[in-house]
Amino acid sequence: MIAKSPRKASRNALNDAKRLASFPQLNPNPVIELNIDGDVRYINESGKKTFPDLVAKGHTHPLLANWKKLVDKLKNEPSGHLTREVKAGARYYHLTLIYDRIEDSVRIYALDFTERKQLENELISAKQRLDDQINNSPLAIIEFDSEFHIIRWSDEAQNMFGWAADEVTGKQMNDLPWIYEEDLELVEIESRNLFSAKTPRSVNTNRNVRKDGSVIWCEWYDSATYDSNGNLVSVLSQVLDVTKRRQAEEALRASEGRVRKQLDGLLAPEGDIGDVELADIVDAASIQALVNDFYAISGIPMALIDLKGEVVVGVGWQDICTRFHRINEETCRSCVESDVHLTEGIPAGEFKLYRCKNGMWDMATPIIIGGKHMGNLFCGQFFFDYEPVDRAFFVEQAARYGFPEDEYLTALDKVPRITRAELDLTINFYQKLAENISKLSYNNIMLARLLFQRDELTEALKRSEDRLNRAQEIAKVGSWELDLVRNILTWSDEVFRIFGLKPQEFTATYEAFLEGVHPDDRATVDDAYTRSLSEGRDAYEVQHRVVNRATGEVRFVEEKCQHFRNQEGRVVRSVGMVQDITERKRADDFMHSQLRILTEANTSVQYLNDMLQIFLDECESLTGSQIGFCHFVDEDQETLLLQSWSTNTLANACTAEGRDSHYPVADAGVWAECVRTRGPVIHNDYASLANRKGLPAGHVAVVRELVIPIVNNNIIVAIFGVGNKPTDYDETDVEALTHLGNLSWEMIKRKRTEEELRLASVELAAANDELQAFAYSVSHDLRAPLRTLDGFSQALLEDYRDKLDATGIDYLNRLRAGSQRMAALIDELLKLSRMTRDEMTRRPVDLTIIAGQIAAGLIAQSPERQVKLDIEPKMVAEGDAKLLAVALENLIGNAWKFTSQTDQARIEVGSTEKNGKRTFFVRDNGVGFDMKYADKLFGPFQRLHKAAEFPGNGIGLATVQRIIHRHGGEIWAASAPGEGAMFSFTL
């Protein structure tokens, strides 16, 4: 065993002390001491390096801006220190300023937190921009949490549904009366599918009810995010109001249906003739002429009378009727009654012989037109030649109604007398007449009506077509009809427009239609039509592209077709609608691209470059391009850094090397022009560009390109480009690429920020570990040399006392006292560092109980002391019980200590409340202190009393302050010499 010499041990101790003294010098952060005028008195190595001109500039250095004011403030600060954040040059510093009252100097500890600050700023602005983007989206954006509570509700959502964000946020989806009742089930199924990850992305159309009760049609684009266990995290929905589109479609269908029904009604063999009068439909004049002639031959009177008793045609009216019976009110009533009621119920083609109520014979046959009884044809009045006339009855009638008897009876004698044979002949004639009247009249009616309705229908059809055309133009819906019987294809104006033709320019044919369809889609479209016929389906839908004949532009259309069959089930007519869905599809694609980018950024753990590649794929496909690329631009705005390409470009277009290489913008191709112009650049005719550079070997030929700069804080940070779209790039592409590019950039930035924050926290944890290891080693190693000092001094005192004089003994005692004091300091320092290191748990803490236990302990230690203790009951605070106990132990312990020379010592622990903030205090009536030293109170190793008066090491209040600060509170003191002290703190 080899023992080291004691001498070597003390040399180690000296080295340790030196090492300790070098701490500020070796501190990687600037430490500076200045006098009150801002002249530097001490600056460590790091300080010199960071602020090389600080010594020369003194208080005019930006680090010490407003020095005078700052010093004044610092001097008045009870805690003796201040922290502030300053910007010096391009960097941010967190300064801790400590005022040393005795030296009248200021000590500054500076910490560079520029990276942190920038990260914070960037994160805030990235979030802001994302929100802006969401709020400016033409689609309503709504986000639900895993239980379908609404957690995001964009401005557009408010416009669309009527509720404001604060009305709906936090509400469960089903608690809002916004789902149309008939669609509830559909929405329910949809949510279930999202929840179970059956369809993580879906598009759905259903009706929603707005806050004002109106119903709208909405297209829902839902995208769900799941955690690694497959549990739903959230659902992001983008909603498009498609009510207008639906209405145009409905209007089209309704309009079609109405016209069809009228035409059908018109062409049907039987139809209602309506409320026409008999007089309106029979040719009264020609019938009158006919019956006049018949009367001349037969002498038998006749009349055509409608059901109201109006005489339409009449001949051979008898004087007895016209001069007598129809004149007197009462007998006339009998005439009409006979005409109308006695003739009821006679079937068409038959007749009824009857005696009228005025005593004469009549014969009637009905006129039935279009199945409706409209009047009667009468023969009469007459008497049969074989019957005797009851003259007495007529004499009586004359007397009753005041007819002059002679004249009345003369009229009676004029009434024709006919034989039965004559009657049969007449009946035969009139029956035929009645039949002819009926038929002719009906045909008249139908013809008239047909003509009238045709005009009306033509007019209505024209109006309907006009409306339809206008509606179609607005909704970009065209319609066509193929009459398979007559083989006629009709196109509405909008169909012509969709195909890039002038409305009704030529006669439409199926071949002309197919010619307008994009070559790649022709087979599909033809197949869809022929298959629907062969498979006997009534309807089919197909989406395809159309090449505009005028501009060559490719547009997307959706076709919906319906077949109409005859009774044998053969298709006789096909009606179709063509809708230009280019904008809708573009919006859909755009939104889906955005969604994919957002989802990718939110869920993937991919590397930046892989993420970028996916973003570029989106940019490429949205603009219909074949190349997609991106370069990061250095802060100097002159160097292009990382390069990235879309999957497609990497696979097919570009085998050139160059990833990760840096090179100046000046050396780049024309695509880098946008860095110089700071705006989008389109080259639709790349080959003819004069200033283009040759493409590297293996690079596919560029035909067209579009490049945009991504600008962040006025600095171009990246450029995004796409190329080789089959047609020219236009403003729509610029808009799409700008949008996606910026969104991608936000995501990249967010990813980077997250990554950097993560690294920063890892670094912080490492620093903490290091500190802990340091404290541990101090605890072990720093004490050993002290023990050596003390131990061997004691050994000397014991073994060599007789060889030492009083001074020698005194020196050894001082050595021992010194090493013991240092050991105590080390212990306290470790304790202090533990206060900062230990984890803190906040919960309600009963300060009354803790204070009581501390007081009990103190009384037990010095039972001889008479101290009046006053502890407020039920003081509960929020904090860490262990730490608060240490703080109170120090404060109450101090009060106990500093009242040791006071008669009638009193210690009070209590609380006050001011502006809703609870302040706790420990007050004593001990020796107190001079307030001018107040700022030194809380500094470590600061003591206001001589050790001989009151023992202590000056760590207690520093510990208390650290505990209070860790709770986010403040501590301050008030005192005067001899008048006690009061320490107050908040938590």
Binding site: K4, Y776, S793, R816, L830
Partner: protein
Amino acid sequence: MSRKVILLVEDNPDDVVLTQRAFQQNNIMNVVVVAQDGEEALDYLFARNKFAGRHNEEDPVVVLLDLKLPKVDGLQVLRELRGNKRTKLTPVVVLTSSTEERDMCESYSLGANSYVRKPVDFVKFSEAVKQLELYWLVLNEAPPCAPQP
């Protein structure tokens, strides 16, 4: 008192001298074997390597163990010692500078019988050693199941 062995595991020669001095002052006449690192301590305890063939009577009645040691640290020594049939009941007093809570907790959980902090003040240290002697050498009964030498 029989001159039984106390094993002092301590790498700091100053502390060795001071500890021996404290023994002397307290009239502890046991043989003090000093091991300067953990490996040496284990060699002695398990009578191996350079201590192979030492007598069973030289098994220590108490081990005074520092924690911060070269090669094998004190906690590891404690772990191995408790894991060995021969030494698992030997009283171990952890004698160290550290007041770190985790050192103390771990020592006890590994089966240390006492945890004594070496004070800087030699007088106090000497008192602590005296307490140790009282308890572990005088008052403490050897466990009945202690392996017979």
